[in-house]
């Protein structure tokens, strides 16, 4: 009897300490999710719900709205380049930064710093770097005899520019990979050395499997971020030229806050949520074969 009373007290105490988040969850997560689902079935200006349209918003989006198709295409284009490239760049950087050198921390600092530059500031910096006529990138390309493209002012290059610019922040992921690399037991490499394994073999059969959980985590977070790419397009190109950088969230933002179509924007948000969720689940399901978890060591 006493024990149950004690248990009740502990539970109440646990809930009391957790209460800030519980309140926050109800106000800032649970309610908005439900409300946004409801709005997605309505015509909603932000002030008044002017009509219940059922699946109308979704149907319109999928069957009629060409800008929506464009924005989805742009985002998938961005995602399918930025995520694999980002993974490779971060991994290569991490492997290099894991070399034993006296001045290695200097290199680590240099590579990491751009990661903490705010996205809005780096958007401005790269807008200037990529200026077709006076930007440093084209000036340097010209030095080696390449006539640089118009970058963000050219619809064929604008998405690629934003993909490349995103790599400037790869130092953050590289540091997480580096931490994982340093956790790989050295004994594994020593055994492989005794067997005369090449560097490539060690990378392929020891390093990559050992850090694969971190890689999986990185890929999921990168996909999640890429689905929501917004700031560079908002600042650098306003979605242009010719809507070539009109990304999903930018179009959603415009529907909600510029066109007063909050119901439609809510439907877009829900579709994005489902897309992100399905993608994550697919990645998790298919990654099972590639990801290696060490037993219950920790």
């Amino acid at each position: 009897m006493r024990k149950t009373k004690q248990e009740v007290r502990t539970t109440l105490m646990g809930l009391a300490f957790a209460s800030p988040w519980l309140i926050g969850f109800v106000l800032f997560v649970a309610y908005p999710i439900v409300a946004s689902l409801y709005y997605s079935f309505t015509e909603f200006t932000g002030l008044d719900v002017t009509g219940f349209v059922g699946f109308g918003n979704y149907v319109h989006m999928i069957s009629k709205d060409e800008l929506f198709h464009k924005s989805l295409y742009n985002t998938l284009y961005y995602l399918s380049l930025a995520v694999p490239l980002g993974l490779v760049v971060a991994l290569v950087l991490a492997l290099l930064l894991n070399l034993k050198m006296r001045e290695i921390s200097f290199y680590r600092t240099c590579v990491y710093i751009p990661n903490i530059v705010p996205a809005f500031a780096s958007s401005f910096i790269w807008l200037w770097m990529l200026n077709p006529e006076y930007g440093l990138v084209n000036l340097l390309l010209e030095k080696i005899g390449i006539w640089g493209p118009g970058w963000v002012s050219d619809p064929r290059w604008s998405k690629l520019s934003i993909v490349l610019m995103a790599q400037w922040g790869a130092g953050g992921s590289a540091m997480i990979f580096l931490a994982a690399l340093q956790d790989v037991p050295r004994s594994l490499y020593e055994v492989a050395d005794l067997d005369g394994a090449s560097s490539w073999t060690k990378l392929r059969y020891i390093t990559l499997p050992m850090i694969s959980p971190v890689i999986l985590f990185h890929v999921i977070m990168a996909l999640f971020g890429a689905f929501q790419v917004f700031t560079p397009a908002y600042i650098m190109t306003s979605g242009g030229p010719a809507n070539s950088t009109l990304f999903y969230v930018l179009y959603l933002y415009r529907n909600a806050f510029n066109y007063g179509k909050m119901g439609y924007a809510s439907a877009m948000a829900w579709l994005l949520f489902l897309l992100a969720l399905v993608t994550t689940l697919v990645v998790m399901k298919t990654s099972g074969r590639f990801v290696y978890y060490q037993g219950e060591e920790r």
Binding site: T10, T11, M13, G14, L15, F17, A18, P20, W21, I23, G24, F25, F28, V29, I33, A35, S36, Y39, G46, L93, L96, L97, L99, M101, F106, Y107, C110, I113, I116, V117, P118, A119, A121, S122, F124, I125, W128, M129, Y134, L136, L139, G171, G172, M175, V214, H218, F224, Q228, Y234, I235, Y253, A256, F257, A265, S266, A269, W270, L272, A276, L277
Partner: protein, 283 residues
């Protein structure tokens, strides 16, 4: 055997030299945009578009910084940004620590379910909650105030809760048990035992929250509408008119925005590294 060792050593040396060259080139590539931002910021407008490019303008036009700060209400925007940073740090530290303590140190039955729920909210894209939140804050009359940006931080942040929980788990239970035997309450244990032992992770959370608020773009973009409420993130766009950009001023202002972060990084490098290490555990 000796020759094999020799070839291995040669390979090691070759790796070191190639690695060095590559890393050095990489470091330059990564720092170049920051350097270019800085040199542009001290150029005369006639030098900004000079060909060939001028690397170090002589004399440097430091005047640009004064002009940039006066061209827009920079000081006001700085104050707005710092205000938001300050209160969100306080809010996060107060709330997320309590929740993390509940998850890590109070053995109540629902805590693992709660942890899963907290972690799963991190997979919710912001646009899903963005519109109802905007509508609700609008009804409360909070749009065009700092409240929508500050108040949520007082109700905990999933990422920081997880970070803190991971750290609290490493604090031996004996310490809190001893305090409990001495008659300390849960709140007392939290304040006098756990928090003093957690200074490094509290620093990590404060630092990340500072960066989060300093760097936030979409939040202020949505909620701050009159131009006396802007943060630096939004205000920086004012150096652009529809068809003209004053690059030297924009770059001067960008430098001013980036410098506090760089200074913070150099002073708190260890905190950054610890933060990365803790984040890495998540894998």
């Amino acid at each position: 055997m000796a020759s094999r060792y020799g070839s291995k050593h040669r390979r090691y040396l070759r790796g070191q030299i190639l690695g060095r060259i590559f890393l050095f080139a990489m470091s330059i590539v990564f720092l170049l945009p920051i350097l270019w931002m800085f040199t542009t910021s001290i150029k005369d407008s006639s030098q900004v578009m000079a060909y060939p490019p001028i690397w170090l303008p002589r004399p440097p036009k430091w005047e640009n910084y004064r002009i940039a700060v006066n061209a827009i209400p920079f000081v006001l925007y700085l104050r707005n940004t710092v205000t938001i940073c300050f209160f969100t740090i306080i809010g996060t530290l107060l709330s997320s620590t309590l929740v993390a303590y509940s998850l890590a140190k109070i053995p109540w039955p629902g805590r693992n379910v709660l942890l899963l729920l907290i972690l799963s909210t991190m997979m919710l894209p912001f646009p899903v909650t963005m519109i109802p939140l905007f509508v609700t804050f609008g009804r409360l009359g909070w749009v065009n105030t700092f409240k929508p940006l500050i108040v949520p931080s007082f109700l905990g942040n999933a990422f920081y809760i997880f970070l803190l929980r991971q750290f609290f788990m490493t604090i031996p239970g004996e310490l809190s048990d001893a305090a409990r035997i001495d008659g300390a309450s849960e709140l007392g244990i939290f304040r006098r035992v756990i928090l003093p032992l957690s200074k490094p992770v509290l620093a990590v959370v404060a630092l990340f929250q500072f960066l989060g608020s300093w760097n936030d773009f979409l939040g202020p973009l949505i909620y701050l509408q009159s131009n006396d409420k802007y943060t630096l993130a939004i205000g920086l766009q004012m150096y652009r008119t529809t068809n003209y950009v004053e690059w030297e001023l924009l770059m001067a202002a960008s430098t001013l925005v980036v410098i506090p972060i760089l200074v913070l990084f150099f002073f708190a490098q260890r905190t950054f590294i610890e933060g990365i290490a803790i984040t890495g555990i998540k894998g």
